[in-house]
């Protein structure tokens, strides 16, 4: 036990060296992050870009000369487009703390509502806006129900079931074919690039800017990381939890509308493959299921990696299910790598914390 006299001396010392008086004192030691940690964090945050780069190089050599061409690049981008939009929805949901499994249902209902309106002679814009409104409505419903303390996964599974049923009711058991009004955002090409690629670019740029540069987006991410912290900052956090569902619903609706445009047919069948592809891309992107973490550009690259693999293997004439196998291998590998990096980072941080105890003799 320290006596008052010596203790006040060491307090003063600590104040001077560690905290520094106002205006005085250079930053204390230990402020620089160790090189190794910086490198590891870089690997964790940018690893997926490196992985994609390696894949591109490998396939360019292996599938030469058919892979590394502008036409094939457009093909890959277009193949990745739908997965990317849904992955953005799933990803934003997870980052903000919810796993929204109702996405395929939202896509189906948006698609069928739009299809019904267009078939009954309403203008294209009305059909598209109504589809988007479906996304908002589903998001609000999911959010408000989940706020009552129910598990969002179960709630959204319930929503999925309701929506697929409703979509089938609207379609009367059939589909809405021949929606050629929508080709402008489906198979139509502008400057040689198909419309969905432009849409994806817009979605990801707007989404990234929203999440990193706007107040609402930053709070949305913060709620995913630690809702209690947001609440204690005097912010009404439930509002942001609902907002997360709404954003994810809108993206699902966009995905549904794009799918409708590409096939010029509104289909009430909600394909579960949508959600699994999207989840794979999101997981590849290292978006932690615990929330609050991740970035949309990485999610986009995740979707591109999936498309790249299946494209490259197809060029080599390898059966498509090998693409599925390799995707799974990559996914598990990425998870293992991330865990290893995370452990290494924490070990090094602990080491430096201890270091400062020994070097800083007060």
């Amino acid at each position: 036990m320290t006596s008052p006299a010596t203790s006040s001396a060491s307090t003063a010392g600590a104040t001077a060296t560690r905290a520094g008086g106002p205006g005085a004192a250079p930053p204390a030691a230990g402020h620089e992050m160790p090189r190794a940690v910086t490198a590891l964090v870089f690997l964790r945050d940018r690893g997926i870009f490196i992985l994609w780069g390696l894949l591109l190089v490998a396939f360019s050599l292996w599938c030469s000369p058919y892979f590394a061409t502008p036409d094939n690049a457009v093909l890959i981008a277009n193949a990745a487009a739908l997965t990317a939009v849904f992955a953005a929805g799933v990803g934003i949901g997870i980052m903000t703390g919810v796993l929204d499994l109702s996405l395929p249902g939202t896509a189906a209902i948006a698609s069928c509502v739009c299809g019904w309106l267009l078939t009954h002679g309403y203008p294209t814009a009305v059909g598209l806006l109504a589809g988007l409104a479906c996304g908002v409505a589903v998001g609000l419903f999911n959010g408000l129900v989940s706020l009552r303390g129910l598990n969002p996964i179960i709630v959204t599974i319930g929503t999925l079931s309701m929506l697929t049923g409703l979509a089938a009711v609207i379609a009367g058991g059939y589909t809405f074919p021949g929606l050629s009004q929508l080709t402008f955002m489906g198979t139509q090409r502008y400057l040689g690039v198909p419309a969905p690629v432009y849409l994806v670019a817009v979605v990801f740029v707007v989404g990234t800017v929203f999440l990193t540069r706007t107040r609402e987006g930053i709070r949305l991410m913060a709620v995913g990381g630690n809702a209690e912290a947001v609440r204690r900052s005097g912010i009404h956090s439930p509002r942001y939890q609902v907002l997360g569902f709404v954003v994810s619903g809108i993206l699902a609706a966009i995905g549904g509308l794009v799918a409708t445009a590409v096939t010029t047919e509104a289909n009430p069948q909600a394909s579960p493959a949508i959600i699994f592809n999207a989840l794979t891309a999101v997981a590849l992107a290292g978006v932690a299921l615990t929330g609050g973490r991740g970035s949309l550009p990485r999610v986009l690259v995740g979707a591109l990696i999936l498309a790249t693999i299946s494209n490259g293997l197809t060029i080599r004439g390898i059966q498509p299910y090998w693409a599925t196998v390799w995707t799974g291998v990559l996914l598990v590998g990425a998870l293992l790598l991330e865990r290893a990096v995370q452990t290494a980072v924490s070990e090094r941080l602990v080491a430096t914390a201890n270091l400062s105890v020994h070097t800083k003799k007060v």
Binding site: T15, P22, M33, T214, G217, A353
Partner: protein, 269 residues
């Protein structure tokens, strides 16, 4: 002790008189008088279940007391929720720090008080990251804190630095026009030697800036480092209220365990 600024005369920043708190038949707080002055650090000690956390919750508006009155800077107040206490300049720092790990220090410090950009981008809700960093740096400077670069994610900080960020976040929010009141529940519980020193220094700095601080802890040396006065609770009653310089560790331990008779209820104890 350090300067010992606020101990003594003047209007207390926070004053509780005759506070009672019952949980059913459990009397968690029994006729507690308590005050803390601007710039004063009061250590609140007591054994497990003595009622420290309960008293802190009454002060922070998380609990309505069953009886007694509460004054902030001389004005009687009734708190219905923690937001009422926050409005009166009282902030509680909980043991779980409630930081957003993946976000950087600046974002954590500015959550809920973001600076928007000027012009059309601001209307769209775009934040001015640089302005927020600058403001936070200035605020930390005023507190005398240097932790790490503002852009460092909180998850990359040591335990002590995280605690410092959490303390600073609350301190920034209370140090407005009238000096605020900070309630700390076990701020060094999970920290090593060096990091405890860091937090000690910050607590002293904040008090020297005029903030009134109530510090709940089981760590007696910490009290001797930073507190001006100590209040000891024993089974819901206040048994001692003394200036740190007038007391010895043995006596304090005696009050905590109940071995030493109360200063106030000699007969009944």
């Amino acid at each position: 002790m350090t300067t010992g600024t606020g101990s003594g005369a003047g209007t207390p920043a926070l004053e509780l008189t005759g506070v009672e708190m019952h949980y059913g038949f459990v009397r968690a707080l029994d006729d507690i008088d308590f005050r803390v002055h601007p710039g004063e650090v009061v250590g609140l000690l007591g054994d497990n279940g003595a009622g420290k956390s309960t008293l802190l919750k009454v002060m922070s508006g998380a609990h309505r007391p069953s009886g007694g009155t509460l004054r902030v800077h001389g004005e009687e107040k009734v708190f219905h929720a923690p937001s009422d206490a926050a409005g009166a300049g009282i902030q509680m720092v909980y043991q779980d720090l409630a930081l957003v790990d993946a976000q950087d220090i600046s974002t954590n410090l500015n959550l809920g008080r973001e600076i928007l950009r000027r012009g059309p981008l601001g209307w769209l809700g775009f934040v001015d990251h640089r302005a927020m960093r600058k403001r936070s740096e200035a605020e930390l400077d005023r507190l005398g804190v240097r932790t790490a670069p503002m852009t460092r994610p909180v998850e990359m900080l040591s335990g002590g630095q995280r605690q410092v960020v959490a303390l600073a976040r609350s301190a920034i929010r209370v140090s407005g026009a009238s000096n605020g009141i900070l309630l700390l529940d076990e701020p060094t519980a999970a920290l090593g030697y060096e990091q405890t020193k860091q937090v000690e220094a910050l607590i002293r700095q904040m008090a020297d800036n005029g903030i009134a601080i109530v510090l709940v802890t089981h760590n007696l040396p910490l009290c001797y480092q930073v507190a001006d006065r100590v209040v000891v609770l024993n089974r819901g009653r206040k048994v001692a209220d003394v200036a740190m310089s007038d007391t010895e560790p043995d006596h304090v331990v005696g009050w905590i365990t109940g071995a030493r008779p109360s200063q106030f209820h000699a007969a009944s104890a």
